[in-house]
C-alpha cells in the first residue's frame, strides 16, 4: 500500500503536460535522427564494424524495430543521467525529506517513485519505437533495404520482444542511476561517477575484454538491446547477471536508506 501511494504521488508530479511535451520533443528528435543515421550507415555483414548495424539484419523480420533499439542503446548515458539526477535532486532539494514526513517507510517510498519513473520511461520507449519504426520505413527504401519482412504478425512479435528489451535496458540503468544517487546524495557527483564509469572505464578498459563484456553492468545491459553484436552476452545470461546486480543494488539502497539520514 505504501508503494502504491508513493507511486501515485510521484505519478501526479510526473504526469504533466509540460514534461510530456519536453520528453516527446526530445524523443522524437533523437529517435528520428538516430534511426535514420543507423539505417543510412548500415553495411553488409562482412564489412560491418563493431558499432554498426548489419544490412542483412535489417532486411529480416523485425528489422524496423531493430534499427530503433540499436539507436536507443546509444542513449544509455542519457537514461542513467535522468534517473541519477531525479534521485539526487530529491536529496539536495529536500523533497525526499518532505515526502518522508508524509510517509515514513523509506524503501517503499523510493520503490514507488522509481516505479513511476520507469513507467514514464516505458511510455517514452513505446513512443520511440513507433516513431522510429515509421522513420525506418521511410528511410529504408532510399537505402535499397527491403521492408517486406517488417510487417505482419511475426514482425509484431519481434517488436514486442524489442520493446521488452528496451524496458529491461531502461530498468537496468534506472536501478544503477538510483543506487549511485542514493549512495552519493549529490547529483553532480553521481553524474560524474556515472560518466567516468560508463565512459572511459567500461569503454577503454573493457574494450575487447571478454570478462568486461560479461560482467561490466553497462555492457551487460547493452547486450540485452544489442544481442546481434558478436561480443554480446547471451540474453539469458545477461538477464541473470542483471537480476543479480539489481538484487545487490536493492540491498545497498536498503542498507543506506535505513542507516543514514535522508538529507544531502
Amino acid at each position: 500500500m505504501s508503494i502504491l501511494n508513493a507511486f501515485r504521488s510521484e505519478w501526479i508530479l510526473l504526469n504533466r503536460k509540460r514534461l510530456w511535451l519536453v520528453l516527446g520533443a526530445i524523443t522524437t528528435l533523437y529517435t528520428v535522427v538516430a534511426t535514420a543515421l543507423a539505417i543510412s550507415t548500415a553495411e553488409p555483414r562482412r564489412q560491418q564494424s563493431d558499432d554498426g548495424l548489419a544490412l542483412e539484419a535489417l532486411v529480416g523480420v523485425g528489422g524496423a524495430t531493430m534499427a530503433v533499439i540499436f539507436s536507443i542503446a546509444f542513449a544509455f548515458l542519457l537514461v542513467f543521467v535522468m534517473f541519477a539526477a531525479s534521485t539526487g535532486n530529491e536529496f539536495t532539494r529536500g523533497t525526499l525529506r518532505t515526502a518522508l514526513t508524509f510517509q515514513s517507510h523509506r524503501l517503499p517510498l523510493l520503490a514507488g517513485k522509481l516505479a513511476a519513473r520507469v513507467l514514464v520511461a516505458a511510455i517514452v520507449m513505446a513512443g520511440a519505437l513507433v516513431i522510429g519504426s515509421i522513420t525506418a520505413a521511410i528511410v529504408a527504401p532510399a537505402q535499397d533495404i527491403s521492408t517486406g519482412g517488417w510487417f505482419g504478425l511475426s514482425a509484431l512479435g519481434e517488436a514486442v520482444e524489442d520493446y521488452l528489451r528496451a524496458i529491461v535496458f531502461v530498468g537496468g540503468f534506472a536501478v544503477i542511476g538510483t543506487t549511485v544517487a542514493v549512495l552519493l546524495r549529490s547529483t553532480p557527483i553521481a553524474l560524474g561517477v556515472g560518466l567516468l564509469w560508463f565512459g572511459p572505464i567500461e569503454n577503454v578498459i573493457g574494450q575487447g575484454q571478454d570478462w568486461a563484456e560479461r560482467w561490466f553492468p553497462g555492457m551487460v545491459i547493452r547486450s540485452i538491446v544489442r544481442p546481434e553484436t558478436p561480443d554480446a552476452v547471451a540474453t539469458p545470461a545477461a538477464l541473470a547477471t542483471l537480476g543479480a546486480y539489481t538484487a545487490i543494488c536493492a540491498a545497498v539502497i536498503a542498507i543506506v536508506m535505513s542507516r543514514r539520514d535522508a538529507t544531502a
Partner: protein, 217 residues
C-alpha cells in the same frame, strides 16, 4: 509542477484528503497562484506552500522548523501572521527558531534548550526579568547624584548611564509600585523628573541572561 500538484502529491502520499487544498491555498494566501509553477514562487510563497502542506489532513499539532528562514521582512511578517491565524484556529504550533525576536511575536509558550538541556519552560514573560530596568532622569543634571542616592535605598542594582539613572529590576519587583515610590521620594527631595519609564528587556536579553546563569551555576 504547480503548487496544487505539489499538495495533491503529498496528500496522496500521506493518505490525506485533497478536498481541503483550495481552502488551504486560500488560508496561506496562494489562492490565485495555486496552478502556477512552484519554480516561479518567491521564497515566502514557497514557505507558505510548505505550511499549507503541513496543514493537509487537518493535524492538531504542526511543527515548523525555522519558518522565516531566508525571508525578506514582508515575507517574515506574512508567515508570522499566518502562524497567528492557524493558532487562533485551535491548532498547536511548535515553532523551532533561533530568531528570538520572532518567537517573542508569535509564541505564547517557550521551551528554551541550551546544550541539549531544558533551561526554561513557560510564557515569554516568565523568563527572568534580567535586563529590565526603571529609567529615571532629573530635569536638572546637577540633581543626578542625589537621585542616585534616593534609588540606592531600594537595595537594587543601580547604574548611571549619562544623565539616566537605571534601576535594574529583578523578578520580584513591581515596576509600577517602584516608579510611584521613587517619584514620590524624588519630589520630596525637590527633584523634578523629566523622564520616568519602565524599559522591558527583549527576549534575546532575557535568553542570554538565562543561558549565562546556567553556564555559571
Amino acid at each position: 509542477m504547480s503548487g496544487v500538484d505539489n499538495l495533491r502529491s503529498l496528500a496522496v502520499l500521506g493518505r490525506r484528503s485533497q478536498q481541503d487544498i483550495p481552502d488551504l491555498l486560500e488560508l496561506v494566501g496562494l489562492a490565485g497562484r495555486g496552478h502556477d509553477r512552484v519554480g516561479s514562487y518567491s521564497m515566502g510563497m514557497k514557505q507558505r506552500l510548505g505550511i499549507a502542506a503541513a496543514l493537509l489532513g487537518d493535524p492538531e499539532l504542526i511543527i515548523l522548523d525555522e519558518p522565516t528562514n531566508g525571508l525578506d521582512p514582508v515575507g517574515m511578517q506574512d508567515v508570522r501572521r499566518l502562524i497567528g491565524e492557524i493558532a487562533n484556529g485551535g491548532r498547536t504550533i511548535l515553532v523551532s527558531s533561533h530568531l528570538l525576536s520572532e518567537l517573542e511575536q508569535v509564541a505564547d509558550w517557550l521551551i528554551v534548550i541550551d546544550q541539549g538541556g531544558l533551561v526554561h519552560l513557560g510564557t515569554p514573560e516568565s523568563l527572568a526579568a534580567a535586563g529590565e530596568a526603571l529609567v529615571l532622569r532629573a530635569a536638572d543634571p546637577a540633581h543626578t547624584p542625589m537621585l542616585r542616592t534616593i534609588v540606592d535605598a531600594t537595595q537594587l542594582r543601580v547604574d548611571v548611564d549619562g544623565g539616566d539613572v537605571l534601576v535594574m529590576l529583578d523578578g520580584d519587583v513591581d515596576p509600577g509600585a517602584l516608579a510611584a515610590e521613587t517619584n514620590r521620594r524624588a519630589h520630596s527631595a525637590g527633584i523634578v523628573l523629566s523622564e520616568l519609564h519602565y524599559r522591558r528587556a527583549d527576549l534575546e536579553a532575557r535568553y542570554l541572561n538565562l543561558v549565562s546563569q546556567g553556564a555559571s551555576s
